[in-house]
Subunit: 340 residues, 4 copies
Amino acid sequence: MPHFTVGILGATGIVGQRFIEMLVRHPWFEITALAASETRAGKKYGEQVDWRIGPAVPEEVYNMEMIRLDPEEIKADLVFSALPSDVAREVEPKFAEKGFIVASNASAYRMEEDVPLVIPEVNPDHLALIEIQREKRGWDGCIITNPNCSTIILTLTLKPLMQFGLKRVVVTTMQALSGAGFPGVPSMSILDNIIPYISGEEGKVENEPLKLLGELDGDHIRMADIDIMATCTRVNVMDGHLESVLALMESNPTVDDVKKAFKKFKALDLPTSPEELIILRDEMDRPQPRLDREEGKGMSVTVGRIREGIRYLVLGHNAIRGAAGASVLNMELAAKEKLI
Amino acid sequence: MPHFTVGILGATGIVGQRFIEMLVRHPWFEITALAASETRAGKKYGEQVDWRIGPAVPEEVYNMEMIRLDPEEIKADLVFSALPSDVAREVEPKFAEKGFIVASNASAYRMEEDVPLVIPEVNPDHLALIEIQREKRGWDGCIITNPNCSTIILTLTLKPLMQFGLKRVVVTTMQALSGAGFPGVPSMSILDNIIPYISGEEGKVENEPLKLLGELDGDHIRMADIDIMATCTRVNVMDGHLESVLALMESNPTVDDVKKAFKKFKALDLPTSPEELIILRDEMDRPQPRLDREEGKGMSVTVGRIREGIRYLVLGHNAIRGAAGASVLNMELAAKEKLI
Amino acid sequence: MPHFTVGILGATGIVGQRFIEMLVRHPWFEITALAASETRAGKKYGEQVDWRIGPAVPEEVYNMEMIRLDPEEIKADLVFSALPSDVAREVEPKFAEKGFIVASNASAYRMEEDVPLVIPEVNPDHLALIEIQREKRGWDGCIITNPNCSTIILTLTLKPLMQFGLKRVVVTTMQALSGAGFPGVPSMSILDNIIPYISGEEGKVENEPLKLLGELDGDHIRMADIDIMATCTRVNVMDGHLESVLALMESNPTVDDVKKAFKKFKALDLPTSPEELIILRDEMDRPQPRLDREEGKGMSVTVGRIREGIRYLVLGHNAIRGAAGASVLNMELAAKEKLI
Amino acid sequence: MPHFTVGILGATGIVGQRFIEMLVRHPWFEITALAASETRAGKKYGEQVDWRIGPAVPEEVYNMEMIRLDPEEIKADLVFSALPSDVAREVEPKFAEKGFIVASNASAYRMEEDVPLVIPEVNPDHLALIEIQREKRGWDGCIITNPNCSTIILTLTLKPLMQFGLKRVVVTTMQALSGAGFPGVPSMSILDNIIPYISGEEGKVENEPLKLLGELDGDHIRMADIDIMATCTRVNVMDGHLESVLALMESNPTVDDVKKAFKKFKALDLPTSPEELIILRDEMDRPQPRLDREEGKGMSVTVGRIREGIRYLVLGHNAIRGAAGASVLNMELAAKEKLI
């Protein structure tokens, strides 16, 4: 069984909290460092965090002394990054340079040619970019990224549709509050309301899947030739992004063909993998965020209402499968493949 | 100035309440009868209704004695029907037969060949079907219908796009609670949640616009040749349906062309008409249900985020423009045109 | 280890679902019967229930065939009743007569002189009424009741205050939606709102604690001499009743005295008992329903903001500690004490 | 008819927006200046404000150029202050010194001996402190304050109870989101939740009524001898504070006595006064924030569920009667009494 010590960068935010929740009793990974902005350094984690995802900070990390975002201070084999994109852009390369494997949830480096953007079930082979990256940048470590939350949930359903000649996707997302972090969306903005815009989100949903579904071609990824049109909205739901999808495919599969393709698409055998990757619901009124988001401990996605078109709805837990769990799964894959 | 006495069928429901709100001080119409199910007959309206749209039942109708859904009992020139579809199917023809003009918000007769399905700004000429209907059915009165709430809001934006050769529409709706009536959606179903299905709704949104945008051809309507794909969801918003629309057009208009077309599309000069029919918002994060639904006293629709595609979001008040106000406006049009 | 087969009466409601959740893998109890209204009899539980408390009905009961509320049909040692009060009034005695031990969450028999109304940590000795009840009614079985949800949460904090000469309690509750069952509160009634009234609730909160905190005196309970004034409101929260309490005591204890008394008040050693009975939070802004309701798997209560007065806030999970868990704990106590 | 030009300090916040809403077509007051923090100075109001209380900034102020919080720059007879307390503490005296009448909604000076804290219907005579204040401080202008939002709503019901020898009040408030301003409460903090604490609020509710209900005694106010115990919570409601009140009185009035006292307590004859000051509802389930907060254009309070005790619930619009409307009403009173 692999064993790695891990640090978490940006440990006090919502995604940082989810990292802790997922890693605190992880069979392979052991949390040895929690880092955040300078002002928190030297203080106890439990006293610095506004813990939002349960009654109390796990005992195992409560008294851990926080450190700065400085590779010199961290004692860990790997780091998980839940940093805001602008901070990540500056900080992550410093860690990679110092030999750290950085599993990043930030958007800063996702689309760089030599940086793997990976969903383990979708494009595990793209991890091969690690070697290219190390060579090109002269780093001992590396940066491995996972996509944006809405992208992950969507792409887990697009991958099995690729066999039908996927050409065009029209998607409207209804995204949960936790996706905006904490404090994030003001309550006065969202009570009895919808906000039909999330800054930067549509570009990510339209572009990241092209890399994920693209093919590794020597030292880079050949983008998939799909046209994605996204409209992203924010709704008054705590966790769980729901996406209304229309997927146009060349071979025009039936609803049944699509169901079979979804069922055939399997989870990997990693510690954080769900038992079932895509859960199909036959009820007319599913998936629903509150009822389905915890499926597979938040690592499954649930699909329902598959209709001619092909149209369907897909739901996933944005903060688990769409963020912290995505990074953890990437690192588990890299560990299993002995790439780290 | 025209003057008609009016009755309201189904006066205690949410749409019934909106009818009262809109008619209680109407310049042309005077409420003289409130009808509902047998059990309420003979009782005071104010004591029978669970008034949900303000602090108190308007004084003008509080003490009005309710009557049965029986044309013999009603003293009024016109009736507005907020009946459930199954009741409407049975009751409305009885009224039409007895000479009443019935403005119906129910879906029962909308798609019948000789029944006008009208949005005054979209297809006022379809009222000509009244004569066909009377002839064919031998009625002194007639039934005039307005579309489903989501359809109205959508179609007000599709009409000005017809000039560009509208071919295909993909729409995902996020619909408000009041659309399901009262008691309607249980709170436990919708708190921290979305319900991705509304029974019967998608069929209405996909079919009714074809009649509305169709052409009057002698004694029937030639359906418009448009392909509409709808996904309808329920969100935790009191009033105001938001719709995410993709409209594919033959002549491929620019965003600017579309804006101009929307601006040119004007409200009529009727008592309930809004000043501005389609309000265009340039902000990235509009329209929003809570902020925009009351525009034009609930009779305008607000459009935002027009992007290449053409994609946009449209919002309207489902219970006013999408229901009671729709019937009232139809009757105002008919009155002005001296068709009633 | 004790072993009993159990039936659940009213198995499809919210409390029924919680019973299943708590019993499906219970170490002592094994579900062998699920009963509900006649119309569901003979059908599969999983197809009859609208499962609201998670993604899916537990496999163990999905295919169980439902039966009628008839003691002749049930094969079980004990029954848990989640029946509405009026149905319970009629049905529960029939079961007790036929020899069943009935653990009832209904209010029908709570205040009857020979019926134990019990919270295991508060008044376990009141179970002695079982013998009185059997003698008096000539039953082989018996009815054991637990209090109303708000009463349980409140009384768990009043018990340790009895030592200070508790005289008067003023309480305002903010109660969760699940307390009203499903469909229960309409969403249009509670979105952006509070309903300052819950039918029958205040009487229960004012009277039931007097019996719970009273003393067993031969064949009946001598009511505690406390004056309780309750105002009960419904708020837009899924689970977890929050109560704002003022407790006036003769000996005028300090905040510290009260904290010590709460800490000393311990859970029992039963399978469903929480580790900590009363969790004290020192933060200014706790307890909060969403964050604290799952403490002790929903069987703890959380107290915060203890101030001179004595004033404090207490929170508990209404559907677990306040309903299903209360009945289960009572039955566990009875089993351990070999009273059943 | 009096005529005054007025400035608004802190014009972009929620209370500032409410000031504009109430003053933009006010018969006596004309908005001539909108001031806020330095960074907004010189810019158009409509482009600086995040307008939250309706679809759009009123035209009348959209293009008004904002100015700094500097008495030299403002051209107005009076100023309304919606400043945060710490800013108000520094800024308001500068305005008073320069001769401005300052109607302040801030808490900074409310409890100072020579500063009138006024609710026009409760203690209009306290405005006499203006003269004391001017003498003592050597100001040409003066500061007139209104109480905290929860205090106003509560005190409007306590005033008519004074005749019965009011001794003790126990109140639990359920306060709306807008009371925390914008952005204020994060949505993740309040969805499916209650926050049982509002910083500083309980002290205000416990102390301010003592001054309001106190008697003017020469140059100061003799505090009323009442013991108030408050617990203040935040709930997921946009506008409208609901308060659960127990009022203990020496003469022990009946429910009927109290109803009569409430009915006798009348609004004044000022432009912003509501027709009915205290609206009594007889329904078991009123007042409710969403249904009752707009009564009297937000200037009435609604009382319900008056029970022996005396216990009752009172609701008022926190941002109108409890903030902007309170300041406006104070200024109208001062204008009518020719004190300004």
